[in-house]
Symmetry: C2
Subunit: 802 residues, 2 copies
């Protein structure tokens, strides 16, 4: 992951094209840094072309007074002067498919290792990392440089192209860097007095807040090597003079300033945040010291790059390879939104292309391709397949469920037999489950029981069942039926496999199903008799109630409830059924949607979070045609008069379309197959109900004494601790896991893939902790996260037992 | 604006760099198209370099059987082989600052004019427009090509770079095109067998859904012109053979397919939208024919590019210069969101850079630069200056006002003297104005009176005054006091200037202010005595109530109300004051915020819409420290337990920061100064209360018989028609304006800047129509919009009088 050292400034040099002077400008920067008395490391990770012309030759010829301060290194060198991805193949001399090419990870680890060794070696210095070719030139693996170096996110210098066409390639290269989130500290190019690109680019980039520095052009290249070298040395002597002034020294000063300012900014961020921001769901009285603030400098894949303020080295000789930035695994998937890893280039590009083609455009009575494609996909080929006819867009899960409620209340009102009185209309109720949560807006909250989340205006409208739950307790997969429900039914029911437990259709004829039915009928009959409230809708989070505490509900109970609220013997008008799949949808639980699993279609369902792959807010409410028709008339007053200005914003829709494309690319891939096979009873088949987490990890965890139960499906793993039961306000899980945030073996491992070399950023819900992966997190990383969780809690467990 | 013809396929050829073979490949495409019996137009808008080497020379040498079908054209030619922005200066021979350079608009009009002439001439054909240099090479004005051609949004071909470094420049160029919303139909490049870029790029782009076509490389260029020409002809003869097969013909087929598919897609969009989408605020029973659907193909500046299905030309000889795409001025600013023009490149780049650096990252207890900078800016140097201490992020105006309500209710509850009972807490009320609207979620609706927008669960909680309003009636600026309010006060009060009317501080001592005070005191005293509800907050949209019907409220009335609810003699605990500036903020009304105008700070204020420049949803609720402290304790249960997963998403925050930068760049510019001067009583000074619309236009409009009144401030111009007063459900304004949507003089004008050459896309609120500009709409365009509105309504007016 990203590296940052107070004592060691690092810059990566990208070129606007090949042959624009990267090596010359980098050499000049290296020499100038040395003359300014800084230790200088020049790293050329990959070099291609004949050795006599090697990139570090110019540096090696440096005979300045501080010559000894300079170190050069090349990690991979190939003779053939072609793109590295070809050079590595040609060098092996073997047929293409037999070539052993270092993976991106191996390659990055080599770079990171070298950077750390530099950090250890010197008390103050500069590193220049020179890339090969242009920004998008492929590396050994074939991934292009901007993508392949991105996890390290070094600040960059872009060497501009001073020749004809160079304005274009310089600006385009800059945009490709920005699209990957790079920090560009300077554009440096030669002052070609005929094409004068430096003039144009200076004014272009200055207007964009970016510094452009220009340098005298080098002498023309000659065929005579010796003469060439002599001329070049003379050139360096001129532009990098002992007087320590001129353009190159100005560049070094500027880069030093950028480095200093960046660290100063990062240092002040916690205090400034505590002084200006009001966080959601946070008691500022409990989170008020600077060390409580997680400073996220960037994010890549499943990891945040987090800044941790470290003291300046105590003396000139002290140096450290502890990067100020350390990786934290984002185990809340950034509040359940993330599904494909942070900063996915194709999602950034999707956002950019819609922003460039439309910005936002008005949606009522209008249409545009990103929204139309997304609507069609969700309705016809997504969670709406087979039952939905329409997509209604809004901005987040909470507005999406409010839309669902408004739809359901109206659709019920219109069909209700006997017809509703005005008072009954106002007082329509919702059936649900205790622990449900459908968003933070007041209307969405009114569809749930009073809880710690409710505000002054909260008026719970309806009735909520306490549901039987699913968990793994001491190694056993169990449905636990809450005590007050029945006297005649056992409180626990064991299942051998997830497939058996989640076989809702098969379990419909079980005695437990009959018991559920009886209990619900009696309860709802009593409610109907004793209450003035008419029930209009059933609102459910299928399979898991997220914010309520990651409670896995017996799906059979949910299915039976759906059947009951549509039973004409109980309700003269069938209730509208709403599935809130905001958290559970799009494979969060290993299934695109829980609808096929429950075996009963809703009338309305709601999606958000993963829908945009964890980039920006967008929600969709899907409905059946019956619901749509309830609003269809010749009168505007009958319409659904709800809408947000940014409804169906093209950027969100385009990103969602790209997200769904990326997800469908994962479905049949090896990592999914392997996980599905692990959860299958029969090793050769794949379970449809499965988890990315290892069954043996779940087993082991469930046996810890401090653990009451665990559960896992899809990307989610939850642990409920024995301990205080003060609910959401409990700090129990948080305390037990506190140490998991820190990097144990701070940055000193060459690979980021040892669990002690990264922290785990986690969120808890009272005495429940949960961990989530993305849909494309590698098994390798999940295993390290499992190891780390296990190690942390096993230690706590032992401590508790002593 | 964008052009599209059924009978004429247009492609614009961009190059990944200069000297990549654009001319050769374009020539081959032209020749192949002609051999396939299509009329072919080759347009090189700008050509630089010596004439003997001109870009169209290769085409002119074409001696194929269908030679007569080919036409070439160059619009601007310069001898000097440098970038066009320099060539035009060098050609003039004059010192830099004396050069007359065609503006981007003049330049585009020349291109558009030629395209139309082609469309008129031929019943079926192809146009190839060859650009100069790379995608970002500057045009004559200095704007780079991708930006300067963007309003025309032709589908593009990218000619890839087959040389060393060419993989990078090709991918970067592609990304720059995508960032501007271009449709890229193909990448075409030479098959260089040493660097093999075509292999790499084929697999790279195929994975991204983009077709790559490769072509045999041309012969090496020789110094002998004649020999060169001969070799090149032989080359063309080989790759563009009479057999109509081979790579180039495959390319032509592919481009034809792209064109056909695009039109097919556009043709089907209305039906598919009517079948799948549920629009906000739309009665689908009234909007159900395909012609009712506005198909927005793209948007640029203040204009949508709208597809209108036209019949195929009836015969082979029929041709037409009616583009299937026509410009519509976005006069609702896409539901009030847009402020800087659609598809602003720097906003797209801001979105991309945050997507590339972070994606979304979790916000509670965390921080990142885009959110922190935005919070600081809004609190310290924006609408919060001088009173706010904190920024709370959410997703849209509605969630932003729900957050404000939750804050106010809690802050009041805690401070209330005497302390509140549980029943009182639930029943806390809001004071406001009739016609207020704070968003569509149920809680936000509960802070307003029952209206056509309210759903079954609506429970109005509070009391709403009918406010005096501001308008221009028959040329006079008037405050109209509603009848039931007082018997002792005149129902109309005239003012000479906006400055006088909006001088709230000065008017505080007027008799009218005293009358307001008395009336409010009496009304609220009566309310307090006769009602069980405790009032806790005042919630206002300062200056204009938007969704309520663009009602301009007497600001004095709002100010007096703020003072009254803080008067201890009336309220033992002062009410919390919330300003909902979601619509009115960020210069929508010519002021960053109405707070200085009202002269009374709120406790809480809310922002959204323009905040992100009209790109994507983001809202911020600002609060005073007093409100923040009400939630500050040692208990999690006291915290504001509200938050959305995408809280403070970096993409939105980064775009907002860029938006605020762009806006501050406008403040002191000429167009603003000129408008401010027009609204000033003294021609030499600038009014602080002003409008982008012309005073004489407002005057004239107010005198039309069909018009009851008009009003304007900042970007907003409203017209209230005499007619039925059925409120929101009235179709009166919509009917009167219907014809303004259409382009009258369909596409045949060379400039898009004649009001009959563009339609006006408008939204109405019952019998009120409103029109909005961006903050950077040129006076020229506003004038054309004014003319068009005037012409349309004046015609209706005459019709009505007959």
């Amino acid at each position: 992951m990203s590296h940052l050292y107070r004592h060691l400034r690092i810059h990566q040099v990208f070129g606007a094209n090949t042959d624009v002077g990267k090596t010359i400008i980098t050499t000049a920067l290296v020499r100038a840094s040395a003359l300014k008395n800084s230790a200088v490391f020049y790293l050329k990770p990959i070099s291609t072309g004949p050795l006599h012309d090697a990139d570090d030759a110019h540096i090696k010829r440096f005979a300045g007074p501080n010559q000894s301060l300079v170190e050069t290194r090349c990690l991979f060198r190939y003779d053939e002067p072609v793109s590295p991805h070809l050079a590595v193949k040609m060098a092996s001399g073997a047929p293409k498919n037999a070539v052993s090419v270092p993976s991106d990870r191996t390659f990055l680890n080599s770079v990171a290792q070298y950077i750390r060794s530099c950090a250890r070696k010197c008390p103050a210095g500069h590193i220049y990392i020179e890339t090969a070719g242009g920004v998008h030139s492929p590396t050994l693996s074939g991934t292009t440089q901007v993508d392949s170096y991105r996890p390290l996110l070094f600040p960059t210098i872009l060497v501009g192209d001073s020749k004809l066409g160079g304005i274009s390639s310089t600006i385009s290269s800059y945009e490709s860097l920005l699209l990957r989130g790079y920090i560009v500290d300077a554009v440096i190019l030669f002052r070609d007095h005929y094409y004068r690109n430096y003039e144009y680019l200076s004014s272009y980039f200055t207007a964009r807040g970016l510094r452009v520095l220009s340098v005298d052009p080098p002498p023309p290249r000659l065929d005579n090597h010796a003469k060439n070298a002599e001329n070049t040395e003379a050139y360096y002597a001129k532009i990098v003079s002992g007087g320590l002034d001129g353009d190159i020294f100005e560049a070094v000063r500027h880069l030093d300033d950028c480095h200093t300012r960046r660290i100063e900014e990062l240092d002040t961020m916690p205090r400034r945040t505590l002084d200006t921001v009001w966080w959601p769901f946070v008691q500022h009285g409990l989170v008020n010291s600077e060390t409580d603030v997680t400073v996220i400098d960037s994010a890549w894949g499943d990891f945040f790059s987090v800044y941790e303020r470290a003291p300046e080295p105590p003396s000139e000789t002290a140096s450290s390879d502890n990067s100020l930035l350390s990786p934290q695994f984002d185990s809340s998937a950034s509040w359940w939104t993330q599904g494909l890893g942070h900063s996915t280039p194709s999602l950034a590009l999707a956002a950019a292309s819609a922003a460039g083609r439309y910005g936002h455009v008005i949606f009522p009575e209008a249409t545009h391709l990103p929204a139309l494609k997304l609507a069609e996909r969700l309705v016809k080929d997504g969670p709406g397949k087979g039952w939905a006819s329409r997509a209604f867009f809004s901005d987040n899960g909470s507005t999406g469920t409010e839309v669902a409620l408004k739809m359901a209340l109206r659709a019920f009102s219109i069909k209700a037999v006997p017809a509703l009185t005005p008072v009954e209309r106002k007082n329509l109720g919702v059936v649900g489950l205790k622990g449900s949560y459908h968003g933070d807006t007041i209307g969405a909250m009114d569809a749930t029981k009073k809880s710690i989340y409710s505000c002054e205006w909260h008026q719970p409208k309806g009735f909520w069942f306490e549901p039987p739950t699913v968990s793994i307790k001491r190694g056993k997969l169990v449905v636990s039926v809450p005590n007050p429900m029945f006297t005649s039914v056992a409180s626990t029911h064991h299942f051998d496999t997830l497939d058996a437990l989640y076989d809702v259709e098969g379990r419909l004829s079980s005695p437990l199903a009959e018991a559920y039915r009886l209990f619900m009928r009696q309860t709802l009959q009593t409610f109907n008799r004793s209450n003035e409230q008419r029930l209009a809708a059933l609102m459910l989070e299928p399979i898991v109630m997220g914010a309520g505490g990651m409670i896995f509900v017996d799906p059979l109970f949910q299915r039976v409830l759906v059947d009951i609220v549509r039973d004409p013997s109980l309700f003269s008008t069938p209730l509208l059924v709403i599935y809130d799949e905001v958290f559970t949808g799009f494979y969060r639980l290993g299934l695109e949607s829980a609808i096929p699993l429950l075996g009963a279609n809703p009338d309305i369902s709601v999606y958000a979070k993963i829908l945009t792959g964890g980039t920006l807010p967008l929600a969709v409410t899907l409905t059946s045609d019956r619901v749509f028709q309830a609003f269809y008339s010749q009168s505007k007053a009958d319409a659904l008069l709800h809408g947000h200005s940014y409804t169906a914003h093209p950027i969100g829709c385009q990103v969602a379309n790209e997200t769904l494309d990326l997800i469908s690319g994962l479905l049949q891939k090896e990592p999914w197959k392997a996980a599905q096979a692990k959860w299958s009873a029969d090793a050769k088949s794949r379970s449809t109900i499965w988890s990315f987490w290892d069954p043996s990890f779940a087993q082991a965890m469930s046996h810890l004494d401090i653990v009451e139960e665990v559960m896992t499906l899809g990307t989610v793993f939850t642990v409920k601790f024995n301990g205080d039961n003060t609910g959401y306000a409990s700090h129990c899980a948080r305390k037990l896991l506190q140490s998991i945030k820190d990097v144990v073996n701070h940055g000193s491992r060459s690979s980021t893939l040892a669990s002690d070399s990264f922290g785990i950023h986690f969120r808890t819900l009272g005495n429940t902790a949960y961990f989530m992966t993305s849909l494309n997190t590698s098994r390798e990383i999940i295993e390290e996260v499992e190891n780390r969780i296990w190690a942390t809690l096993n230690t706590q467990n032992k401590g508790l037992l002593q």
